[in-house]
């Protein structure tokens, strides 16, 4: 399955995605959540918090 990164436009390939799965764009590194709209999947920036330890 092919997606386009909504942030940087890069092409993202993923197999057998499921709703709620988190993908990372290989180009810009943004984390994207797989959302199911009707019967097709799309990506939106994930809102989950990753570990953020400091500078």
């Amino acid at each position: 399955m092919k997606f386009t990164c909504p942030e940087c436009g890069a092409e993202i390939e993923a197999e057998d995605v499921i709703e709620g799965e988190i993908l990372t764009c290989p180009d810009c590194g943004v984390e994207l959540e797989v959302v199911l709209e009707g019967d097709s999947y799309s990506l939106k920036p994930a809102e989950k918090e990753a570990e953020d330890w400091g500078e």
Partner: protein, 351 residues
């Protein structure tokens, strides 16, 4: 700013560019002896410090915009956050709002923090609030950082021939035991990782030849501590462990504190934090995330000396710090500027 490559030690060109830009924006500007750019605007209280760093890690990343994203070394760590503070401060005074801002763009944050240390030693001003610019998303504010005690253990024994290891105490083998003992004495698990004292051995060196029982082993231990703990308390505990070994028994243990940083935490109810919470709700339209970080940054040094209410804020995903694809979301950057503007307005309009 991204097009001016400025790894640690090579910040001069960016400093000149910022000094010129800040002058045009109405700030009075100086570049100090170590290369920090210090810009001031406004008058009276509240006195607010905006502090960011000009240096980046090494490695050029071509500056390129792709849709919503701007790539470049320093995009998130931390030219994006520094630029957001500059724009917000300039807009604040363009609107003829009150208070005063000192904007410090410092050098060497990725090195030995020479910039902030020099600023602290020479800046006579006092501040009511401080914001340090580091990426943590436009909707997040870091209100606490852990401290650090960097320990060096030196374990000494008698050297001997490695064909007869049963006759000698091996410094490397005993280093494992000393390390375990120090870990047991120092490590403290709390309800979450931030409030815990963590112990991580990071460097170990020992032995000098493949046929000699080693007589010396050095272990560096990175101990991270919550704000209610002092680095010297860690040193004291480690020294107590060292004293349990003795030269008479053939094992000598020395402990040194190589680096110490005090942690800090600002209350979730502090006016500065409240101003950020209000601004994020208004501009980002969501609940802010208040973070307690398990590492440390330049703000630790500032708070330890000045006791000023301080938070760390800036656009960008800190997972991209030092990464080869470092980039920042342009809409998020613009949102962070608005959040900072709101914060300034709130702080300067509160009696």
């Amino acid at each position: 700013m991204l097009k001016i490559y400025s790894p640690t030690g090579q910040e001069e060109k960016l400093a000149s560019f910022l000094a010129e830009t800040l002058k045009k924006l109405g700030f009075s500007v100086e570049i100090d002896e170590v290369g920090n750019v210090i810009a001031r605007a406004g008058r009276g209280h509240p006195r607010i410090l905006f502090c960011g760093h000009m240096d980046t890690v090494e490695g050029v990343i071509p500056v390129e915009r792709r849709r919503n994203v701007l790539f470049g070394r320093g995009a998130v760590d931390a030219k994006g956050p520094l630029a957001a503070m500059i724009v917000a401060a300039a807009r604040h005074f363009a609107e003829r709002r009150g208070g005063s801002i000192t904007l410090a763009a410092v050098v060497d944050e990725e090195g030995r923090s020479k910039g902030i240390k020099h600023f602290l030693a020479h800046c006579k001003e006092t501040f009511d609030y401080a914001v340090f610019g580091e990426p943590g998303r436009a909707y997040g504010v870091s209100i606490a950082y852990r401290g650090r005690a960097l320990l060096k253990l030196t374990i000494r024994t008698e050297e001997g021939h490695s064909a007869a290891p049963h006759l000698f105490k091996n410094a490397i083998e005993h280093a494992y035991k000393v390390l375990e003992d120090v870990k047991e004495a120092v490590e403290a698990k709390a309800e979450d990782y931030f409030h815990s004292t963590s112990v991580c051995p990071t460097i170990i060196k020992g032995g000098k030849a493949d046929n000699v029982v080693p007589g010396e082993c050095q272990v560096i231990i990175d101990v991270r501590i919550p704000p209610n703990m002092e680095p010297h308390q860690i040193l004291k505990k480690a020294k107590r462990v060292a004293e349990s070994y003795s030269a008479e028994e053939g094992i000598e243990v020395q402990v040194k504190l190589l680096d110490s940083i005090k942690g800090f935490e600002v209350s979730e109810k502090a006016p500065l934090v409240e101003a950020f919470k209000k601004a994020i709700r208004k501009i980002a339209g969501r609940e802010p995330i208040l973070r307690r970080k398990t590492a440390s940054c330049d703000a630790n040094l500032f708070v330890a000396e000045r006791k000023t209410p301080t938070v760390v804020y800036g656009p960008g995903n800190s997972k991209l710090d030092h990464a080869p694809n470092e980039n920042i979301s342009i809409p998020e950057y613009l949102q962070a500027i608005k959040v900072l503007e709101e914060v300034l307005q709130e702080l300067t309009s509160t009696p």
